[in-house]
């Protein structure tokens, strides 16, 4: 009972409820939602695995976005950075028909992630040093980013035939799950460990809640901002690898399209306020999975891709309403009433 109580008042409660509602809906209306099969070569297969697979890059993006939003900033350039990273990795490996890599893959990966960090540092420079509003500062790269990606691919969609490249978002022979799920897991673990073992989380929150006071206790606000934007760029770089590996190509126009909005939504669904301050990484991860579950559900129900945004919008509105302060209040009231009546019945029993 105590455990239940502390769970219902924890920040994770509502995001989990929102996801649970979706899952229950799926369990009823989608056949075989929970079934997981094992193929002959030991791979796991099923809707849930598919959701995790497809949500991996969004999970990674939302990690970076959470920290940026916690400093009361925002990074709307991540979608474009995904495209840049995809362009870098694909051009470096090259689209040779004989399936030979022009550059060793690990170097290409390093370069792609490195470019992502560089993009993040650029955003950090504008926000932290030049004090440009975060939306405006990252808007620059959001619009210019796809152009940069186009330049790199020379306006072509570069298809990569080098086999190992597909392993990033596919299954390495002998492994049970696609690699990108492990990558997402590793990123989440990395962030959790960093948050536990260092004071970065505390500093990020301090900057987000009251930057002036943070400066007055000696926190290097500029450096904290640089760090979070660079990390967001890093996340976008990694996502770019996953996204391009899915289609084994760099599509400068469509890679990571609108993903920044999904990432922001994931953070919001996770319970982090867009005004900054307290942040909930676990919530953001659940938020990202929720968004992907929604998409997968829609496809499973036979809703066409054109109508998807409408249905998604409706579902998002409902989820946001569930998590609104008003709903929280109503829920607390309801809990209070129930407790009262519960205590009355126990009293009655005691009298008897």
């Amino acid at each position: 009972m105590e455990k239940w109580k502390s769970f219902t008042s924890s920040s994770l409660f509502l995001p989990v409820v929102a996801l649970a509602v979706l899952v229950i809906f799926n369990a009823i209306f989608v056949d075989g939602f929970f079934s997981i099969q094992i193929t002959e070569d030991g791979r796991l297969f099923g809707r849930i695995i598919d959701i995790l697979n497809r949500s991996s890059s969004l999970i990674i993006l939302s990690l970076g976005m959470t920290l940026v939003i916690a400093t009361s900033g925002i990074d709307i350039s991540v979608g474009a950075v995904v495209a840049i990273s995809a362009a870098v990795v694909c051009t470096l490996i090259g689209g040779r028909g004989d399936g030979v890599a022009e550059t060793p893959m690990f170097l290409a990966i390093l370069a792609a992630v490195g470019i992502g960090v560089l993009c993040g540092l650029w955003n950090g420079l504008l926000v932290a040093k030049f004090k440009i509003q975060a939306v405006v500062a990252t808007l620059i790269l959001m619009t210019a980013g796809r152009g940069i990606a186009q330049l790199m691919t020379e306006g072509q969609i570069i298809t990569v035939y080098y086999k190992p490249f597909a392993y990033i978002s596919g299954v390495i022979p002998g492994m049970p799950l696609p690699t990108n799920i492990f990558i997402a897991l590793a990123m989440v673990l990395l962030v959790v460990i960093v948050m536990k073992k260092t004071s970065i989380g505390l500093f990020v929150q301090s900057v987000g809640i009251n930057a002036t006071a943070a400066k007055h206790v000696g926190i290097n606000v500029t450096m904290v901002l640089f760090l979070v934007y660079a990390f967001s760029g890093f996340c976008a770089g990694v996502s770019g690898l996953i996204e391009s590996s899915f289609i084994r190509a760099a599509d400068a126009n469509n890679a990571g399209l609108n993903m920044e909005m999904d990432a922001i939504l994931a953070v919001a669904l996770g319970g982090t306020l867009l005004s900054g301050g307290k942040f909930y990484l676990g919530g953001s991860v659940i938020g990202a999975i929720t968004i992907q579950t929604l998409t997968t559900t829609m496809y499973a129900m036979g809703i066409s891709a054109d109508q998807l945004p409408v249905v998604k919008a409706i579902a998002v509105i409902i989820i946001c309403l569930i998590q609104s302060n008003k709903a929280r209040e109503l829920f607390e009231k309801w809990k209070g009433n129930r407790n009262d009546s519960a205590s009355v019945t126990t009293k009655v029993k005691a009298v008897e």
Binding site: K197, T198, S199, I200, L202, F203, Q205, S206, I209, N210, T212, A213, A214, K215, H216, V217, G218, I219, N220, G277, K278
Partner: protein, 502 residues
């Protein structure tokens, strides 16, 4: 006696877990200036908020001119004739003065806003309060004092019967306060009932007729000002014996400075902020910066903490050129700074008391040397205990504490970093009398027992006179006098500020 203007009877207000008001009575007559007194958390603001409809009350009745009223929102209260001017001016500084006065109730002509009428009536209103300004300029053109007048003008225009002034003078200097009082008296003569809340005893005794004292959400009593000596008032507020208070008022002996100089400024200047300041601060010395608002006392402190650049002269710490460019440089030199504006630059509202306490130490250690949770708890508990910070537990959010306790947390934050110089800028502003004395005592005690150098800045003269071993008097961004020993007196400081004596 004539019928009371406002009668509040048996008011109850419960917050989750706390009884904020229980069975409180309050009576206000027309043409009376009535003060609400009590320590922080005694229930003053809660009573006001119940009256103005911000909080619904849980019991009791409110009668205005004999008729029962139940305002549920500040707007409804205003329609009943109850207007409030809050501590922090809550106007829009980017709108014009006239717009601020008429926002939300603009006079219309043919369905459009009648600007001429607005400007004319605003001008008239302010003239009545003997403020003659251009009402078409935006509010941020004017100093806080004028903004306060505008807020009052706005409040009294809506046909107010009762005007509530919540800490109206906390950001005003003496001249401005005098002007405000003149206006308040005018309003009193018009038969308005005025509720005046302030921490400044002087002002209460200057302007108020009656005092209602609250303690822990309960009514202590209502008194006539003329018949209530100050000490008795304080005794009633803190709920202690008169003799205890006398003890409290008698400061412990002042600290005697050591030989060793901690920080030394030689004709330092900071462009546009400070013109010329020379000082020598020893270990174990409590040094006060006196002067009017804007005299450069806060700026000097900020310069010592690396928040303002030194552009002229030299500043040495322990004999070495200081070269402070960031707060962190100062912190590494063992300097701590509790800023003047607690809300803006001090507390990190959504963090817990524990996190707020360890923050400076953590910043000093750097983000990669995380203070283990157990150690944080130990530190937090130690200081909560030592400074007697009133919290429900260490994980309470600091924004939910009273002003005095927030200030103590900020001081704890710096003590945790083991400073050798502690700068306290207005540490007692907006804090109840009991906590004020505690903080003054602590400043002296730290200097005495730990040999800490302390800088104490305050607008309240008697507080500085009691606490400091040396006083630097500033005027127009310059040091104009340095007082030590027996020269430290309110009179001496005032003469130095006025410039009659060198």
């Amino acid at each position: 006696m004539a019928q009371a203007l406002l009668e509040m009877r048996n008011i109850d207000k419960v917050f989750p877990g706390v009884k904020a008001l229980s069975n409180v009575d309050f009576t206000l007559h027309a043409g009376e200036i009535h003060s609400l007194m009590g320590e922080n958390g005694a229930g003053k603001s809660t009573l006001v908020k119940v009256l103005t409809g911000v909080y619904p009350r849980d019991g009791g009745t409110v009668r205005l001119n004999g008729e029962e009223i139940n305002p549920r929102t500040p707007k409804e209260a205003q329609e009943c004739g109850i207007s409030t001017v809050y501590q922090e001016v809550n106007l829009c500084t980017n709108l014009t003065v006239a717009e601020n006065i008429f926002i939300g109730r603009e006079p219309k002509k043919y369905g459009l806003i009648d600007w001429k009428e607005i400007n004319r009536r605003s001008k008239e209103l302010l003239k009545k309060l003997s403020v003659d300004i251009d009402v078409t300029k935006s509010l941020d053109h004017y100093p806080v004092a004028i903004q306060q007048m505008v807020a009052i003008a706005r409040a009294v225009d809506v046909d107010a019967k009762i005007l509530i002034l919540d800490e109206p003078t906390s950001s005003l200097d003496e001249g401005e306060t005098a002007r405000l009082f003149k206006i308040v008296r005018q309003l009193q003569q018009r038969g308005m009932g005025i509720i005046f809340i302030s921490h400044f005893l002087e002002q209460i005794y200057e302007i108020c007729d009656h005092i209602t004292i609250l303690r822990n959400g309960e009514l202590v009593g209502a008194y006539e000002v003329a018949k209530l000596p100050r000490l008795e008032l304080i005794a009633k507020m803190v709920g202690k014996d008169l003799n205890d208070v006398k003890d409290m008022d008698k400061m412990a002996e002042k600290s005697v400075p050591h030989e060793e100089v901690f920080i030394e400024a030689d004709h330092v200047a900071s462009f546009g902020q400070i013109a010329d300041v020379a000082l020598q601060l020893h270990r174990g010395e409590v040094m006060g910066f006196a002067g009017l608002l804007g005299s450069g006392r806060t700026e000097t402190a900020e310069m010592m903490f690396g928040l303002k650049p030194v552009t002229g002269g030299s500043m040495k710490i322990k004999g070495k050129e200081a070269g402070l460019r960031h707060p962190m440089d100062a912190m590494k030199a063992k300097i701590a700074f509790c800023p003047e504006d607690r809300k803006l630059a001090g507390i990190i509202g959504d963090l817990t008391v524990r996190e707020n306490i360890i923050l400076a130490l953590q910043a000093l250690d750097g983000m990669f040397r995380h203070i283990p949770y157990d150690k944080q708890v130990e530190l937090a508990d130690k200081f909560i205990d030592r400074l007697k910070i009133k919290v429900s537990d260490r994980e309470q959010l600091i924004k939910n504490l009273s002003g005095g306790n927030q200030q103590k947390v900020i001081i704890a934050r710096w003590l945790a970093a083991n400073p050798e110089l502690l700068i306290l800028d207005e540490p007692t502003r907006g804090i109840d009398v009991g906590t004020k004395t505690e903080i003054q005592k602590m400043a002296v005690e730290l200097a005495k027992s730990q040999g800490m150098a302390v800088v104490f800045i305050s607008s309240e003269m008697d507080e500085m006179v009691r606490t400091c071993s040396k006083l630097i008097v500033m005027r127009d961004r310059k040091k104009v006098a340095e007082l030590t020993g027996n020269d430290i007196s309110s009179e001496g400081v005032m003469r130095a500020i006025a410039g009659g004596d060198n």
